[in-house]
Amino acid sequence: MAELGDEPSRTDVERSLDAAGRPVIKLVGELDISNVTTIEAQVDAVVSSSERVSFDLSALTFMDSSGIAMLLRVAERADHVVLVRPSDTIKRIIAATGLTEVFEIVDD
């Protein structure tokens, strides 16, 4: 986890819609305690009233427990959260944390 006094980790949030018109949020960079509040505010703007939300994690290189907590909070409000193409590192964290049944993970 990054130190609070440091500059926040760099993460970009790219928003788009999938073929069915449902929101897809692409997280690029690192998601941790230093920037999770900022990222969550941007994510919330998209998620507000959606039943299914996809996070494209193909370009997310690191996620700590604060990032997982954010995904869990989104999952509490949206009916279904899909994690698209997470890296092996993130996939392993999700598995080790017992969250494979909470998130749908899509690899293609």
Partner: protein, 557 residues
């Protein structure tokens, strides 16, 4: 994190209620409010100095300009006055020459002077007369117009005029200002070796000594005084624009040769010669300067106060943060006692490694809860996020687990109960918990796992992870179900339970960190405390950003 910051001020206020230093500081700041900061005073002084310098400078420029213009005008007046003198002298000189040529013939003199003599204001002179060139003479030979006013004077005065005229080449000017009719007398004698006749004429002066300048004239904007002789004395005043009251204020004077004496011209402007703009400039500059100075002082003062406020706020934030961290640390330290409960037949040692300095405390914890003579719960957990809120969540989970353990619940039942205590939606945090029930007699550990890294077991043959059924973390869903896995341990086995701070590194798959921990866990008979130290040193040699907890459990035989 945001939840932590929002929820803490109340607690901090309570914690600092006894500290009146902050209240004293703000009271002092309030008391000091009316006074100016030193920088504002400097701006005030500099602004006033610049204003005064500009205003005085403009005033000086204005004064010099006015003086220059006035002197210029006075010189113009002098030129005009000088040009007027031949107008007086020429008729007298002509008449003197004629008298000389005609041996003082009366009719010739009358004819030559007739056109110059008349009523005051209509003609040049009011009276002209021809006198013999003798200082003892008391009567003129011929008179044109009324009798000369000179005749009202004592004989000595008459003689003085005549003798001055005889000795001088210039026009003799005689003051008759105190005579019944205020007049100037002029006497002229032909400049020949033998002077026989003196021509004398008198000019009327305004009765009230007032002679206003025509409004349309080039000198309409000036007041003037005309004195006979070099002194600005009221008894010598010939005429003035005011009729007697002496001029005051800005004045300029010049003397003009006037026959055998002088005329003193004094002038004073009625208004600003250089125009009103230049006259008002000093005042305008002063007003503008004061205005700008006031604005600058106000601005500087405002900036100063803003800066002071910002500094006070930053200081206050720093203090609050330090206190918050301190409260969280105190809470954590009180929960993570250095001395663990004794469990017969087991050696148990725990380590807590705080994250790098300056961070909020984490929500990692460990616990040992003896149940009976041969059984004890060994617990490791990790609340997501950091700070006071995470620490209080940790405290809540820890004490709940103790209560459930005391009621003889199984590990899976305890985690199930915890799953209803915490909600990531409501609390913003979730927690991973590994709950193990160690049976000393049977050499078993029964584990239930809520999303936590699995325990490591080390014996003489090496290290391996105990497989558990990993359920969802606490807080993800209520009424979560957990499975238990009971593992029988080999002789001289040591169980290590830990939090992810020990194994998780940025840019690295978790398994690499797990393997590093397994490699570091070499027991070979060393005291357990040293083993734990070695494991920490090898897994996080530079220290970790994240907090980390590690607990080791070893059978004594």
């Amino acid at each position: 994190m945001s939840g932590v910051l929002r929820s803490t001020p109340g607690a901090i206020a309570e914690a600092t209620a006894g500290d009146d230093s902050s209240a004293g500081t703000s009271a002092r700041q309030k008391a000091r409010r009316p006074s100016l900061h030193s920088s504002a005073i400097v701006v005030l002084v500099v602004g006033l100095a610049i204003t005064a310098a500009l205003s005085l400078g403009a005033r000086s420029v204005h004064d010099k300009n006015e003086d220059r213009l006035l002197n210029q005008r006075v010189r113009e007046v002098a030129t005009v006055a000088s040009a007027a003198i031949p107008g007086v002298e020429t008729p007298l000189a002509s008449a003197a020459l004629l008298a000389d040529e005609t041996n003082g013939r009366g009719d010739a003199f009358k004819r030559s002077m007739a056109r110059f003599v008349g009523a005051p204001g209509k003609a040049l002179f009011v009276s002209a007369s021809l006198w013999p060139a003798r200082s003892a003479a008391t009567r003129p030979l011929v008179v044109v117009g009324p009798e000369p006013e000179l005749l009202t004077q004592p004989p000595s005065n008459i003689g003085s005029v005549l003798s001055r005229a005889m000795e001088s080449d210039k026009l003799t000017v005689q003051s008759l200002l105190t005579a019944p009719q205020r007049r100037l007398g002029y006497a002229f004698a032909e400049t020949r070796p033998q002077r026989r006749f003196i021509v004398y004429a008198e000019q009327a002066l305004p009765k009230d000594r007032r002679a206003a300048i025509d409004r349309a004239s080039a000198f309409a904007d000036l007041g003037y005084e005309l004195f006979l002789g070099p002194l600005p004395d009221e008894s010598h005043l010939l005429a003035s624009s005011t009729g007697g009251a002496l001029l005051h204020g800005r004045r300029a004077s010049v003397t003009v040769p006037f026959g055998d004496t002088q005329l003193l011209v004094v002038m004073s402007p009625h208004k600003q010669l250089g125009g009103t703009l230049l006259a008002r400039l000093p005042l305008a500059l002063a007003a503008l300067g004061l205005l700008l100075t006031a604005a600058a002082v106000w601005l500087v003062e405002r900036l100063n106060r803003r800066r002071k406020q910002a500094e006070a706020l930053a200081e206050e934030n720093g203090r609050l943060y330090a206190e918050q961290r301190s409260v969280a640390e105190t809470l954590q330290h009180s929960l993570l006692a250095d001395v663990l409960p004794e469990v017969a037949g087991l050696e148990i040692v725990a380590r807590y490694v705080a994250g790098v300095e300056g961070m909020d405390v984490g929500g990692d914890w460990y616990d040992v809860i003896p149940i009976d003579d041969s059984r004890a719960f060994v617990v490791v957990g990790d609340v997501s996020g950091r700070g006071l809120h995470a620490a209080t969540m940790m405290a809540s989970l820890r004490y709940s687990m103790r209560a459930y353990a005391a009621e003889r619940h199984s590990p899976a039942e305890i985690l199930h109960a915890l799953s209803n205590l915490l909600s990531v939606r409501r609390d913003g945090h979730f927690a991973t918990v590994l709950c193990g029930l160690v049976d000393v007699e049977r050499r078993t550990i029964t584990c239930a796992n809520a999303g936590h890294p699995e325990p490591l077991v080390v014996d003489g043959h090496g290290a391996q992870f105990i497989r558990t059924t990993i359920g969802v973390p606490i807080g993800v869903r209520p009424d979560a179900h957990y499975d238990e896995v009971t593992t029988t341990l080999p002789l001289r086995a040591t169980i290590f339970m830990y939090t992810d701070g020990l194994v998780e590194r940025r840019g690295e798959v978790l398994d690499v960190g797990l393997q590093r921990l397994a490699d570091a866990a070499v027991t070979n008979g060393s005291p357990l405390d040293e083993v734990l130290g070695e494991m920490v040193a090898r897994t996080i040699p530079q220290g970790s950003d994240d907090d980390a907890a590690l607990i080791g459990v070893r059978w004594r035989n």
